[in-house]
Every structure is written in structure tokens, then in C-alpha cells.
Amino acid sequence: MRHEIIMPALGMSQDTGTLLAWHKSEGEAVAAGDILFEVETDKTTMEVEAPAAGFVVGISAEAGAEVPVGNVIAYIADTADADVPAAESAAPTPAVADALPEGNQVIMPTLGMAQDSGLLIGWAKQAGDQVDAEDVLFEVETDKSVAEVTAGHSGYLVARLAAAGDEVPTGEVIAIIAAEPSAALIDRGYQAGTAMSASDKAADTIPAASAPTETASSKAAPTASIQPLLAPAGARILASPKLKRMAMEAGLDLQLLADAGVPQPYHVSDLVQLKELSKAATQAPSGVFAAQTLEISAVVDAGAFNEFVLWLEANAGISNQAQILASMLGSSHAAFTQIGVATLWETQVYQAHQQISGTSVSEAAEELHLRDLRGTFIEIATLGNSAVPRVTLTRRGDQLHLQLSAPESALSAADALGLLNNFAERLADPMRQLL
């Protein structure tokens, strides 16, 4: 059995330690608990004990050397002449990709001499938060106690590289604090739905669980954890009673905040953002409305209709083209009889009849609207949505263009196609109308 002796991390913001002196030499026998060497950090001097009995071999750092935290500097082996691997020159690689944000690295500290990992109980700060060097950043459980670890650097927490419940090797980078805030945050601080062996983490409760019972600490030592809540999608929304009431009174939906990824729980200070999000949401619907409108166009030669108008005037004394059009349009669909006909200058509703002469002025509200723009220069008119189906009639050269615009609720697609086609047929062959 060979034990690695590493340079311990003694401070939260420290990444090297100065080896002051060896108390044992190469090949010397040691008992568990014997002092092996002394380390100096920026604050204190510490004596490091041997974790096991054996022989000290493979010393790879001299007194006075500055050694990166986590580096192996010696071994304790069963015999004085055991083989040792070549001295490590590189610091242990953190278990993260190279794409880490710039900033001061915060490592999992060594809190006990025989300890090589710490259980991360919980984060006190969220990714993106501003932190002061003295702020508690996270809590770690060792075999003896729960320690609050301070940030050690002031700035912005741009990366959280472990989640509550993770066992993190000492010396591993666990967080990064940068001088400037960053939009690109790395946050592994919360894992939804992962089975945690240690603390109890239902997504919608604030855990106040004490440390795992195998440590059997006395009741006098409070070991609650703070979990910032990032609820997974679909979970209930946590907000203060006052905010809930204010949102309800203003008719605002807190789900907008959740969808926008604002971390919970929400307070009155989030109301401003909620109002912004709500305004943005209500401006969407015109697109929604437009999607429900049917748009159909048709083209016919204008000649037949023009001749028909002249013929009617000469033979039936009917000169009101609106009346003619209303009759034709009304006959194009069984359901519509109140036809509103508008030109640029006047609008009139007609009760349409199969017979043109029977089509008369009406006081009722229109069910179908015809916009007759033949006498104008207007070629295409898409004029927004309305509840009543609308037909727009324009003339281009020798052709009449028809455009039907109808909300889906007023007319099915099949009906709409039928209506416009029937109307177009009548315009193209008006004599049929008389039959």
C-alpha cells in the first residue's frame, strides 16, 4: 500500500504552499500521526501529519520549495526501498474542460489532514452573483464538521463547477470569481432530478436537512444547507405572498418570469421585470390573429361584366352597380344575404336577392363585405383583419381581381373557396345570373 502525500490547500484563495521543513527524511520510518513536514501559507504555518504508518519514500520537493496545491511531494510505502513513480511536475488537472472563464479559481480546500475530498453541501451564492472576499461561498462537510468556505476573492461568480451533493477532490477547482460580470456563466451548481446520496433535495422545498446521520453530530451543531432554487421546468413557482398578490391584482402571470429563466424565489423587486415581459407577450397576438385569416384571390376578364352592366341599364333600368354586385355576391353563398358594398365614397348594405331587381337597401348589419375599388387607382389592398369576410374588387387593365379575406371562424376553407369561385363565375358570365 502506498499513500500519496500531497501539498494541502490551507486557504481558500491559495494555490501554492511553501514547504518550510521536512521532519522526516527519505527512507525514514513513520507512525501514523507523526509530523512529516511544515507548510507555510500566506496566513499561517501548519504541521502535516502522516496518514499512515510506513516509510517515507520518493520525496520530490525540498525545503523552501513552493509547491502547487494538490501536487504529490512524497509517498509512504511499506518498505524503505519501494519503487515510486516519477515525480509529478504538473498540477492535478481539474476535471473540467479548458473552456473555463477567466478569473480567480476557488478550490476545494483541505480541511482535515487525512482528507482528500469534501462533500459540497450547498452553495450560498448563485452563478452571476457579486461576491465579497469575506462572503460565505459554499459549505463543505468533512468527516468532522461542516465548514463555511469564504470566497477569498471579490468579484463576480462566473462559474460554479460542482453541485450540492458532489464529492469534490481537494485541490480541484470548484468555482471561478472574475473581476467583471459575465454573460457567459458556467453553472453546474444545481442538478435537477439527480439522485443525491447526501442531502434531501426536493425541487420545490427549501431543504433544511442536517448532515448525513453517519456523522452523528449533536443537536447543538446546526448543519442546515442553503440551496438557491432553480426550479426545473414545470415545477411550481415560488414567490413571496406579496408578489403573488400584486401579480394577481395586475393580471400578470408569474410563469413569464419562470420561462425567462429568472431564478426563484420571486419577490416584489421582480415585479418590474414581470411587467416588461407581460407587455412583450401581449404584443404578439396580431400575428396569431393573422394566421387564422384565409386569403384567397381570383382573376376574371372584365369585359363580360362591363357589357352586362351596360345591358342592364339599357334594358332593366338598373344603374346601381353596388346593387348588381351585392346580388351576385349574395348568390355566391347560401348563408350570406346582408351584403355591404363600399366604394371609396360610400357604403351601403343590401339585402341580396337572386334577382338583381329584388336586391334592396337594408338596415341590417352586413354579413359579407364587398370593397369595390374598380374606379380607383388602387391595385392591391390588404387592409388588416376584420370579423366579417371581405371581398376586395379591383381592376387591372382588362381584368378584375378579387381578393377574399376571411377569419377562419367565419368561413371554412372549403366555403371560402366556393364563395369566391362562384362570385368570379358570375362576374365572368353574368348572363347566368339571370337564369
Binding site: A224, S240, K242
Partner: protein
């Protein structure tokens, strides 16, 4: 206005009431010549004689029982209990007899007695002489409980207590006997059930009892520097409790910390925070939070004793967390 110590204020209140009403008398251990170990009652036996300032043997149940009996038969005793911790010795007399006699006698008997005792830790008096047990007494219907936070309150509340026809327990803070405050020369009484808003604020309400009022005021000053405006309220009496003032404040600021020197669990802080939760729920932007003494026997070691009670820095730090919307430890 003149400034006198809490001890002098209590002395004055007793002297004034004893002059005013000859049925008022004092009974307890070392109350006469010694004037109590705290030297509060000095001079009274000289003025009123040993018939009205009565030294007793060391027997709390005994002289408390005498007080209850005297009150039932027409006197107005002020029983002196040297340390609040001894209240456990008189619980039957206080809670089973004095508290219930008016009701159980169908209104025929009154027990117009005052039990004067104290609370407060950090005197290095160890676990059995440092407790703040007012919550235990307040729990019993039929007893009123007053908690003066300064010399001014001590005099006014004690006079009201003596004139009240019900059993009243008044807890003075033993650490404050030499603290001075402005006390008018003219006679005054402070009514029960009227809280005192000592400092107005808008961001958070700090409700404190007894010496915790000063702790809250100090915390409010610290919070000023952070731009947080704290309102400080002294309820003065917990039975009857001026709920209305407390709820209105909670609705105004939307955040509350209740600070009391009794143990945090099952105490005054729990009761007040609960009522705020019930009656101001939809106005709260943060949970109403308790800060009491740690749930441990009060240590004898000074370093340990001092961390078991709420401090101004502790209150301020908790207030900052609530204002920022942070989750707090559930300890």
C-alpha cells in the same frame, strides 16, 4: 428632563404607589434592609416599615402563596422574585392559583398582585440564573406580562401593574438596572397593550422586547449605512399584545424580524411571527423571522454566553438577507 437609572425608576414607582394606596406592600427575600442584592429597594423599609416591606425565608412557593392569599383578601402585594429562573418554583401559585382564581370563583375573587422579577443573560450568572422565561408565563391565560425596555417603561409599567386588578408579572432586565433614561418628574402610567414605535422605517420591521429593543435600535443604525430603513417597535407588554400596531407595521414594510431574549423555539418570537404570518400574509415579501437566544442552557463561559444571545450585528445581517430576498439558514 432628568435621567435616572432603571433601579431608581422602580424604586420611585413602588414608593409612589405605596404612598398612594396603603394596601400595597412588598414581600420577598432581602427586600427590606438589604434592598435586594440589586439594591433596587433601598430606602423603602425606612419609609414604610417592616409591615409593608417584608423579608421572608428562602421559600419562593411559600411567600408567593402568601402574596396570592393576601391579594385574594384585599391587599395589593408586590412579590419580589430575586431571579426570573425561580419562577419555576412558584408556577403552581402563579399559574394554577393566581391566574385562575378570578375565573373559577365566578368573578367573586380578584388577585390584584404583581410579581416583580427579572430576565437577561450575559451577566456570567450561568444557566440557572440567566434565563428569560416570560414566554412560559405568557402562555397561561389569566396572567398579564410586562417587559420594560428602559427606566421610563419600568416606572410607568410597574405603576399600571400595581393598579391592575389582575395578576401581573413584570420582568426587568437585570443587566439594565444601572442604565439611565429620561424619566419625567410628574407622575405617569404606561397603559398595557400599547406598543411603542421607537423608530420609523420602510424596509423592514424589527420587533424587540426588553433589552432587545436597544439591540434592534443599534441594528437599525447599522442598516442605515446600507441604505435599509428599519422600523423598531417595542411591544412593552406581551400580554396583552398590541397586535394591531405590529401587523400594520408588517404590512407597511413587508418584512419582519422578532428579537427576544427567550429561547428561539416555542417562545415569544414564535408567537409574534405566527400572528404576523396569519394576519399580514399577503403583504409579506419575506418570511417573518425569529431571533431568540440559542436553544441551549446558558453557558457560564463568557465567550460562549455572549454568542447565545441576539446581537445588533446578527440582527442587521439577517435584515440584509431578507431585504435582498436571500434564503436564510433554518437553524
Amino acid at each position: 428632563m432628568r435621567q435616572i437609572t432603571l433601579s431608581q425608576a422602580v424604586n420611585e414607582a413602588l414608593a409612589e404607589e405605596m404612598r398612594r394606596d396603603e394596601t400595597v406592600f412588598i414581600i420577598g427575600e432581602d427586600v427590606a434592609e438589604a434592598g435586594t442584592p440589586f439594591k433596587i429597594l433601598s430606602g423603602l423599609v425606612e419609609e414604610f416599615g417592616t409591615n409593608r416591606v417584608i423579608d421572608t425565608p428562602i421559600s419562593e412557593p411559600g411567600f408567593m402563596g402568601m402574596g396570592v392569599g393576601a391579594a385574594m383578601t384585599g391587599m395589593r402585594p408586590v412579590v419580589d422574585l430575586m431571579f426570573g429562573d425561580f419562577i419555576f418554583l412558584v408556577m403552581d401559585q402563579l399559574c394554577n392559583q393566581a391566574a385562575k382564581t378570578h375565573y373559577m370563583s365566578g368573578g367573586k375573587l380578584n388577585v390584584p398582585m404583581v410579581l416583580r422579577t427579572n430576565l437577561g443573560a450575559t451577566r456570567r450568572s450561568a444557566a440557572q440564573h440567566s434565563q428569560s422565561l416570560h414566554a412560559i408565563v405568557a402562555h397561561i391565560p389569566g396572567v398579564k406580562v410586562a417587559l420594560p425596555s428602559s427606566a421610563y417603561e419600568a416606572k410607568g409599567l410597574l405603576k399600571t401593574a400595581i393598579r391592575d386588578d389582575n395578576p401581573v408579572v413584570i420582568f426587568e432586565d437585570k443587566l439594565m438596572y444601572q442604565d439611565k433614561a429620561e424619566v419625567p418628574e410628574e407622575e405617569y402610567c404606561i397603559p398595557f397593550g400599547v406598543a411603542n414605535v421607537k423608530r420609523e422605517g420602510t424596509d423592514i420591521t424589527l420587533i424587540g422586547t426588553s433589552s432587545m429593543v436597544q439591540v434592534c435600535e443599534a441594528a437599525a443604525k447599522l442598516l442605515e449605512a446600507d441604505g435599509i430603513s428599519a422600523e423598531v417597535i417595542d411591544p412593552r407588554t406581551i400580554v396583552p399584545l398590541d397586535e394591531k400596531t405590529l401587523i400594520e407595521s408588517a404590512k407597511k414594510t413587508s418584512r419582519v424580524i422578532v428579537v427576544d431574549e427567550g429561547h428561539q423555539s416555542f417562545g415569544v418570537t414564535s408567537e409574534i411571527a405566527s400572528r404576523i404570518n396569519e394576519k399580514a400574509f399577503y403583504y409579506l415579501d419575506a418570511p417573518a423571522v425569529r431571533m431568540g437566544a440559542m436553544d441551549v442552557p446558558i453557558p457560564f463561559s463568557p465567550a460562549l454566553e455572549d454568542i447565545t444571545v441576539p446581537t445588533a450585528e446578527g440582527v442587521a445581517e439577517k435584515a440584509r438577507k431578507l431585504v435582498r430576498g436571500e434564503l436564510i439558514h433554518a437553524a
